[in-house]
Amino acid sequence: MYQSETVIRNHYNNINDWLDQMTSKVILEKNAEAETHFRNIGITFSTNNETARERIIPFDLIPRIFTYTEWLRLERGVIQRAKALNAFLADIYNQGEIIKANIIPKEIIYKKKSFEPSMFGFSPPRDIYSPIIGIDLVRTGPNDYFVLEDNCRTPSGVSYMLENREIMMRMFPDLFHNNRVTPIDDYPTRLLQTLMSLAPIKCENPEPVCVLLTPGPLNSAYYEHSFLSDQMGIEMVESTDLFVEGKYLYMKTVDGPKRVDVVYRRIDDDFLDPLCFNPQSVIGIPGIMDVYRTGGVNICSAPGAGIADDKAIYIYVPEMIKFYLGEQPILDNVETWNCEKEQELKYVLDNINELVVKEVDGSGGYGMLIGPKSSKSSIDEFKTKLSTNPKGYIAQPLLDLSFSPTLIKNQVEGRRVDLRPFCLIGEQAQLSSGGLTRVAMNEGSFVVNSSQGGGVKDTWVLAE
């Protein structure tokens, strides 16, 4: 919000005035109102203990604001990246041109667990493997946006994006009269159009039947699953509701079996088909992969799409953009050292005090070391881990993430934020006009993950 110590960035002036005229009593009331609202609509994390209170993510009342021009660049950059990631998947599961061109070594692709050999030689509809991509961005200076990671499997958080806006509009309607905020509530419609545009070849239905496949109520993103299926007007199914007969997938309905054309799955590859992936799995739909490969159904995202958001592959995304699209990357990667390479490993070990070390397969802010903030013993621990299993790690500089004003105990304080906008790719590629802003609520913290004290904010993109 601040350009320097005292100067407020222009587009935050309205918000600053608004904050000034709010008393702390009102702030307290509005915070309580938001919490009640989130509990009532059920946007909660479930815990394993059924009777324990479900957790809600802390919501901060102060929106994060992007100007139209700022957003335009992000939009182009994210779409560019999403296209390149899909092109990469189509390539490595078919010709492997990028390997032949010696841009990415084949070992780091074919040896990954997230690479799915059964996808080899198969092309999904429109060659789209990952139709919903969430790209995590951070800002470190006026125009310096970096991509922290890509999420090509089943990125979550879009329900927060939508509900945060909903509650803000409900609590502070005047804000939306005085600021021209681009609406985002058409996201579910666009998502459904995207899914329908990815119907499999054998689909004869002009309006393909889509379903959302959820692992069930114990999953932490369950609210989002039911929210999205509700907004799209499609069935939310569990794997026991589906079965394969002949060359098609059906769901069990009160009318008898009904054919399903597109499965928007929110479960991991391993639990899709026990015949193909994990024979021990009691969940999953036996035979679905066979139907998929013969064009009877489409699975979004495609099995094996996860290889594209692997942290070791991340390093090569700028190269992918040049290779597949012939364009210069609009958004930069964060400088990353690949510990698999001997020289880079040496640099990481020598400078570990300054760096952030991440597990290649880690997520949720776990399994990482923030050098400047860690004790000597945990640094030593990571040094040993790095030396014994260099392949398992990458390292990045500690980025000075931008601060966003956040209400902490009724005082406005700066807290670090990141941003996850959601990109849809089907018949066309488009970006949500906003995204999920996550905020590290603890003072001095760099970790925005909800599992570790992160909160969320409404994210505004101002209209032109």
Binding site: N40, E50, T51, E235, E238, V254, G256
Partner: protein, 311 residues
């Protein structure tokens, strides 16, 4: 509609209806406890427990029957599957899965109820709070039912109401049965004021006390009450009203006509019988036998609905 969705909708209504019945029973017990307790009557809380089908579970947990424990067992106890708390918890967990199949208002009604009962449970309660708790429960259930009026009149709607009326038929029949046989007073009290008081409490528990007064003139008699609760088509809790509505919502289903026909065939005799029967004949034949048969029939219809639609 998914089979599982249909099943969950059906059970949401059953649980909400059951929560209401349990709350009303607690209210009955509470009212009775305010009256002097003459010898010759069963302990009123015991009758409440049997009517709620919870006597066995209660006795496993407590040695003596005490108001405070009964209240807790029927309202909050997690080990009692029919406690108001569990009914609301189950309804809410089902609603979480099928919230896409009814209106946001219905979800909100259920989820708010759940959030509030968590608070109530944490705060526990004192004796004088019981009327508030039962009133609260009835209000919440009414809020949920009211929210259903804006639903699409599709199969989901019919499954919700099938569940409601199957549960209500079962609950009404059991209450009737409990009054007649467990609560049956010693002969010298029959027709006395206390007996009538108990009858009127039964009517209250079915939220039908005023309605009965409007529907029948003169004295409250056992036969009139039986007629009201078994055969009167205007009484929304009578067995015949429930059956009529089960038939209505069953035959309104647009899915699988052949399944509907199979269930209907099983049901139509009972429906015809209950529409044509005279209360005198039923009483002569034995109300208990009649009610027992009725409960068995409802249970078999419930089984068939599960078998045909939810598997």
């Amino acid at each position: 509609m998914l089979s599982r969705t249909a099943e969950y909708l059906y059970w949401i209504s059953r649980y909400m209806e059951r929560a209401e019945t349990t709350a009303r029973l607690l209210d009955v017990g509470y009212r009775m406890s305010l009256f002097p307790n003459p010898s010759g009557y069963n302990n009123e809380w015991e009758s409440v427990l049997s009517a709620a089908g919870a006597i066995e579970g209660y006795k496993n947990k407590y040695d003596t029957i005490e108001q405070k424990n009964v209240e807790d067992y029927l309202f909050f106890d997690e080990s009692n599957p029919s406690s108001v708390y569990n009914c609301i918890l189950n309804a809410r967990n089902n609603a979480l899965v099928v919230r896409t199949s009814f209106t946001p208002e219905s979800w909100l009604a259920i989820n708010k109820t759940y959030q509030e009962i968590l608070n109530l449970k944490e705060q526990k309660f004192t004796k004088s709070d019981l009327p508030d708790l039962t009133e609260w429960t009835i209000e919440q259930v009414n809020l949920f039912r009211g929210s259903l009026s804006s639903l699409l009149r599709n199969d989901g709607y019919n499954f919700l109401f099938l569940g409601l009326f199957i549960e209500r038929a079962d609950n009404s029949a059991r209450l009737l049965d409990v009054k007649y046989f467990v609560l049956l007073p010693k002969p010298q009290y029959v027709g006395g004021n206390i007996d009538n008081m108990q009858w009127s409490i039964l009517l209250r528990s079915l939220s039908s006390f005023r309605a009965f007064r409007w529907a029948y003139d003169g004295n409250i008699t056992a036969t009139k009450i039986a007629d009201f609760l078994v055969l009167n088509n205007n009484c929304p809790r009578s067995l015949s009203f429930c059956i009529q509505n089960i038939v209505k919502h069953l035959t309104n289903l647009t899915c699988s006509p052949e399944k509907v026909a199979r269930i209907y065939n099983n049901l139509k005799d009972l429906n015809t019988k209950i529409q044509e029967e005279k209360i005198e004949t039923i009483v002569e034949y034995g109300l208990h036998q009649f009610v027992t048969q009725f409960i068995r029939k409802i249970s078999s219809v419930d089984n068939e609905i599960h078998k045909e639609f939810f598997n």
